[in-house]
């Protein structure tokens, strides 16, 4: 008898554990995971993006929380901008913290394996604020993956066009060796060559190397007019720019979104003055960007000129909309609810109007969410309709100069 009692005791403990992780037992908070890099190559973006998600959490909780007054609780895990670490972290979110929806990660190279091995199979909704590779358009995700950043299929076209319109007849491309780099590289080559330009070299590089001189030497060997660099700032990008200048390999550059940070020009302002880059940006429309900048400034100080802080905010907001619409914290229900509730023709909701959004959902109406990064519109595969911005280095700062709409 005694062993049976023990067994039942353990069984009940296990049941409590399982049920609570499934969210069946009454919870005071709704947990949503965020997997943002606090260290590694994208750390410079991850910390501010995390602020963006926390800001959304704050707005939602201040305006009554979700599902009848429960608090939204964000749990962050660090992906270290590495695929293996990111997959482990996402697994932790899903299996231990029991989240049914998550935001992140930032880099495409980490996002693809997480979609394929964690969120897809476990039916967990995932919204990346910044994974831009075209690969994610066609990945097998059963509809669970969304992104609030536009695909690089568009950025590649814009970057290719832009480089050609700058008067560069030949370019060399160096790209970080992952899904993000590969995807953007292919898109740029297609467009640049379609316009009649010549890509003299397309070289993949490994992140975190101490020296890129050999790669640069190969890239410069046919004397192209400029270097188009697809990289992140801290795990190779800045080093490549400095070594390219230092060793006289390149003087002209075209940058992409991973380099849109004033740190690239630190100490070498004179060399980079007037250079251009591309980065996904807000669709015009709505008062989201201004409201967001003001809210951010109040909470954390001036909004840094980095991409994806706004789209991180939007990712959390969209998940909250989905949960509220679904009326339950359950992956498949949230997935369907996001598609149902977002509608460009619906009632407009601004980023500081969570209470209004709740009323609309309660009344069964659809919502046109004018997010911090512009109107959030997903196509059928969960890709964001977006625009590509052109930015320029001016006096060591990053200045947005133009927007190209799809």
């Amino acid at each position: 008898m005694k062993s049976k009692v023990k067994f039942l005791l353990i069984l009940s403990l296990v049941m409590v554990f399982v049920l609570s992780s499934l969210g069946v037992l009454a919870q005071e908070s709704v947990r949503v995971g965020t997997a943002l890099p606090i260290t590694g190559g994208l750390a410079a973006y991850g910390q501010d993006a995390r602020n963006g998600t926390l800001l959304a959490q704050k707005i939602i909780n201040e305006q009554g929380g979700l599902l009848n007054g429960m608090e939204l609780e964000l749990v962050n895990v660090d992906t270290q901008t590495q695929a293996q670490v990111g997959v482990d972290a996402a697994q932790r979110l899903v299996n231990i913290n029991g989240v049914q929806a998550m935001v992140g990660p930032m880099s495409s190279g980490v996002t693809v394996p997480i979609v394929e091995s964690v969120t897809g199979p476990n039916q967990v909704v995932q919204i990346s604020p910044s994974a831009t590779t075209p690969v994610l358009t066609t990945v097998e995700d059963d509809g669970y993956f969304f992104r609030t950043a536009p695909s690089d299929a568009l950025q590649g076209v814009v970057a290719g066009d832009f480089a050609f319109d700058q008067g560069f007849e030949s370019i060399a491309i160096m790209y970080v060796n992952n899904d993000y780099g590969q995807g953007l590289n292919d898109a740029v080559i297609d467009q640049f060559e379609a316009r009649g330009g010549e890509v003299t070299a397309s070289i993949a590089f490994e992140a975190d190397q101490v020296s890129y001189r050999s790669e640069l030497m190969n890239a410069a060997s046919d004397n192209p007019d400029a270097l188009l660099l697809v990289a992140y700032t801290d795990d190779g990008g800045i080093t490549i720019i400095r070594q390219a200048l230092q060793n006289g390999f390149f003087e002209e550059f075209v940058f992409t979104d991973g380099l849109k940070s004033p740190t690239i020009a630190e100490g070498i302002e004179d060399f980079l003055e007037g250079k251009y880059g591309t980065a996904p940006t807000s669709l015009p429309g709505g008062r989201g960007p201004e409201t967001f900048a003001a809210m951010y400034e109040e909470e954390y100080g001036e909004l840094p000129p980095l991409p994806y802080i706004d789209s991180s905010f939007d990712a959390v907001f969209v998940i909250a909309l989905g949960i509220e619409k679904a009326g339950t914290v359950d992956g498949p229900a949230i997935r369907d609810a996001i598609r149902e509730v977002l509608d460009p023709e619906g009632e407009t909701v601004n980023i500081d109007e969570w209470d209004k959004a709740k009323e609309l959902i309660a009344a069964g109406q659809t919502i046109n969410f004018e997010g911090a990064s512009g109107p959030v519109i997903f196509d059928e595969v969960g890709d964001r309709a977006g625009a590509i911005g052109i930015w320029q280095v001016q006096d060591g700062n990053i200045v947005d100069v133009d927007v190209v709409v799809e």
Partner: protein, 286 residues
Amino acid sequence: MVLQLLLNGLIYGSIIALGGIGLTLIYGILNFGHFAHGDLMTLGAYLAYLFTVQLALPLPFSFVIAGLLTAATANLLDKILYKKLEGRDSVTIMISAVGAALIIRNLILMSWGPQLKFLERGIEMPLVFFDGLLRITRTQIMILILSVIFVTAVHLFLSKTKLGKAMRAMSDNTALAKITGINTERVIFWTWFMSGILTSSAGIFLAMDTHLIPEMGWNLLLPMFAAVILGGIGNPYGAIVGGLAIGISQEISTMFIAASYKPAVAFAIMILMLLVKPSGLMGKKV
């Protein structure tokens, strides 16, 4: 092009060699792979950053202070960690070294943050030789000269001083060295001290030539081990030759294969060496 690659390899190789000397001596004398060696290198570089950039002290002074502090840290690690585990299975000690590596790296991360740092804000334009075939910066020339000085000093120390000879004797055969009356405590202390200075210098050279990042030393650990194995574990001269060989072959390899496979070259060499002559180029036995 070959000339330039050779030069790049030589610089990279000297950095690996300087780190490798300490690594191989520790392996020889204490009989375990010191996995925290790379992070000691990072520590040295960040200390130099602290003194030169944050406190605006002259570089030579920072160089020396950073070296001494790194050496002190190495000895501290030995005293509070490795010595306590003496006599245990070497796997235990090696795993504790990985732990020490994580602690050092994360302390650095906490203190200085994850962003790239530079010892010099601007960039330095190179001297150009042979019509652009060879470009070398003054910093790189200095790194090469200082590396030669360091290696010569290590050689003189190991071959001419009593302590140095004792070090080599212990590295060759610890038990025998103890019997002959060598003060092992003292030798171990100075081994850590010397390794600390050398690895800190390697870190600072690397930072001068490229940049600082909390993972810089850890990323260099595997090439350093490859150099140590290539040269024969426990043999400091082997580590120097091994380091240069790894550095140069990594750079030269980019003429034939895609540069993104560069890090794999070190491993390919290491595996080949283990298959063909496991004792290393200058080793005796395994």
